[in-house]
């Protein structure tokens, strides 16, 4: 009887009901879409960072600080037998990082040289392209670096550097490949080159700044056996800054979540208040016929909950194809927007939302609970209502 009565009252409100359902369904779809984008940001950022930069973590020179380019000239050391062994077993790859100045088309650019073995398989980079015999040292750059320096594949340019002892030298290099990288920290201002060539340039045999570990290798297993010059930085340590950034982005997501839901909830709250005022005589009659106050509160709360239920159904009808389409085709960001300004790896010109069942389900449950609470709050006034006053159209 309650269900029948609730449905009768619910649809009896006519256009107002459908407007509320539409607004709430839009809020639901928008929240799920937004959540898909934030989940995509987060997962792509971690994936890009692990694939292109940190692998399973670093065994690095103890003084190496990626945020202090002034330290790069000092922060490398020869690799010991144990580190060379894990490199030979393809459990790690050595990287020598060193500052230099590049002169593409005669313009000065401060750059960081990254020496890595062309045959490495730890990082997902097309380093094998540096094995080409071009007559000069082959290098690789990212697409951002290519844009900022106007260098393309096949271009030759000079690089000037100061060797380990302090003497300057310069040499010609050729761009063997322009890589499409998702992680700007290994792209902007970075020039990748064969490790052996960089070691020769600096006159440092077997020297490296970091050992990038494979994701399957536990760096801790060798730490007790290598010199104190080297320290272990786990994947967790190296993603600390990214996790802070993602946490900040999550706060932004919740702000949007609240805004969207609030828009819908205000209209539901409004409708509930209006219903309570308009339907005082009806409430008095129902109470006179034997309905308790709690049953009456339940009826009004259930009617409010129906908004969430129908909004979910309507949202599923038009939202599902929209969400599937955006997941497949992505969401292009406005032109001229600087993706790198986000400071999060993995953000490209087009964002592909990542909808996960668990997050959609939790979002729906949370949203429905909030809608029910918002429907219940105004209905609490019924608890103070006297049937006689209600029948006369008055509040007690």
């Amino acid at each position: 009887m309650m269900l029948k009565l609730a449905l009768k009252n619910f649809f009896g409100a006519g256009l107002r009901t459908w407007l509320n359902i539409l607004v709430l369904s839009i809020a639901f779809v928008a929240i799920i879409w937004l959540q898909g984008i934030f989940v995509s940001f987060s997962s792509r950022a971690f994936d890009a960072m692990i694939a292109e930069e940190i692998g399973g973590g670093y065994i690095q020179h103890k003084e190496y600080d990626p945020y202090d380019p002034t330290s790069l000239e000092e922060t490398f050391a020869p690799l010991c037998e144990i580190l060379l062994d894990i490199q030979n077993r393809e459990k790690a790859t050595a990287m020598l990082i060193y500052p230099a100045i590049a002169y593409p088309a005669g313009r000065m650019h401060n750059v960081t040289l990254r020496g890595i073995k062309p045959e490495q398989t730890i990082l997902e980079l097309p380093t094998e392209k540096m094995a080409a015999d071009l007559g000069v040292v082959p290098v690789m750059i990212g697409s951002r670096m290519s844009r900022s320096t106007s260098l393309s594949e096949g271009d030759r340019f000079m690089i000037r550097w100061r060797d380990r002892r302090g003497a300057l030298d310069a040499k010609e290099f050729e761009v063997a490949a322009v890589m499409s990288l998702e992680n700007q920290s290994v792209d902007s201002g970075q020039i990748w080159m064969p490790l052996s060539d960089l070691q020769k340039m600096l006159q440092t045999d077997n020297a490296a700044t970091i050992m990038v570990l494979s994701t399957e290798f536990d760096g801790q297993s060798v730490m007790g056996r290598i010199a104190d010059d080297w320290i272990l930085k786990t994947q967790y340590d190296l993603t600390e800054d990214l996790r802070s950034l993602i946490a900040m982005a999550d706060i932004e997501y919740y702000v949007f979540y609240i805004i969207f839901l609030l828009l819908a909830l205000i209209s539901i709250f409004d409708t509930q208040i209006l219903a309570l005022f308009r339907r005082r005589k009806e409430m008095g009659t129902l109470m006179s016929l034997g309905m308790t106050r709690h049953q009456l509160i339940g009826l009004f709360t259930f009617e409010g909950g129906l908004y969430a239920l129908f909004a979910l159904l309507l949202g599923a009808v038009y939202g599902t194809p929209i969400l599937i389409w955006t997941a497949r085709n992505g969401f292009p960001l406005p032109e001229g927007m600087d993706m790198d300004s986000f400071g999060i790896p993995g953000i490209t010109d087009t964002i592909y939302p990542d909808y996960r069942f668990s997050s959609i389900f939790s979002t729906i449950i949370l949203s429905v609970i909030i809608v029910v609470i918002v429907s219940y709050l105004p209905a609490r006034r019924i608890a103070r209502l006297k049937p006689t006053d209600a029948l006369r159209g008055k509040w007690s």
Binding site: P69, T70, S71, L72, E73, P99, I101, Y103, A105, G106, R107, M108, N110, M158, R160, R162, D163, R165, G166, A167, L168, D169, A170, K171
Partner: protein
């Protein structure tokens, strides 16, 4: 008879030997005297003279530096106080954007004061590679020991005419591995012992920078480059022209000029 003959022979031999020694000594003295007059100075002597010319106990100079970029040129004027080889202080006078910027070098440390931020920063590490005011000279070029014979081993390579002056070509090779430019080539005026042209090379032999002295001046009996053109060969552009507007050698410069406090003064 035999004995008599032997004595006569011995006597003659002694006389002949003495005469021969005298002749050799005279010849040696004559050759030494002639060569002393016409002898070319050695590479080390030439470099020594060059050092004497380019270094002074102290000097105060007003310099204008015109940086010829790809699209436009701009001129920066500065006044510098230099004492010995370890202390130098410069203050930029114009353009207004750079006016008041000061630079202090004491031994191997370099500080810059910027009036716009009212801050003094020490230039070190990668910042030393940055060009000074966008010119073809970097801060690290200022950090080199100006006494060439301290850091280079000279070798005479030949002769050439530069700016209508007869020059000797000196090839300098660094004495140690830590010298910024591992080799240099100097075209030194035969008469004035002043380098009219220089080429600075990297350790692999790549030409990195050039210097051409376009005009030479003389002050207090000392030659100096009145107008010179520096060129970072790797960089596109027409180089940086440095003009010495006025210069005073062996001036008395108070100690307070070469202090960090002077930067904010």
């Amino acid at each position: 008879m035999k004995l008599q003959n032997r004595l006569i022979w011995k006597g003659n031999y002694r006389i002949t030997g003495l005469l021969f020694l005298k002749a050799v000594a005279a010849a040696v003295i004559a050759i030494w005297s002639i060569s002393a007059i016409t002898q070319e100075p050695s590479a080390s002597e030439i470099l020594g003279h060059v050092d004497e010319n380019i270094t002074a106990d102290s000097r105060i100079a007003t310099i204008s530096m015109t940086i010829h970029g790809r699209r436009s040129s701009r001129t920066v004027r500065s006044k510098s106080w230099v004492r010995g080889t370890d202390e130098s202080f410069s203050e930029y006078l114009s353009p207004p954007r750079e006016a008041g910027t000061k630079m202090l070098k004491i031994e191997d440390e370099l500080w810059i004061y910027s009036p716009s931020t009212d801050r003094t920063i020490q230039i070190s590490g990668h910042m030393l590679r940055e060009p000074v005011m966008g010119s073809d000279l970097s801060y690290e070029d200022f950090m080199e020991d100006p006494v060439l014979s301290n850091i280079y081993k000279p070798e005479l390579e030949g002769e050439e005419v530069v700016s209508e002056r007869d020059c000797r070509i000196l090839h300098l090779t660094a004495k140690s591995d830590d010298v910024t430019y591992q080799s240099r080539r100097l075209w030194v005026d035969k008469e004035r012992f002043f380098p009219l042209k220089e080429e600075w090379y990297g350790s692999g032999g790549t030409l990195l920078k050039t210097l051409e002295v376009k005009e030479v001046g003389q002050e207090q009996g000392r030659w100096y480059p009145k107008r010179a053109l520096f060129n970072d060969v790797l960089k596109r552009g027409d180089g940086t022209e440095v003009v010495v507007e006025d210069i005073e050698f062996d001036a008395d410069i108070p100690d307070r000029v070469f202090s960090r406090a002077a930067l904010r003064r």
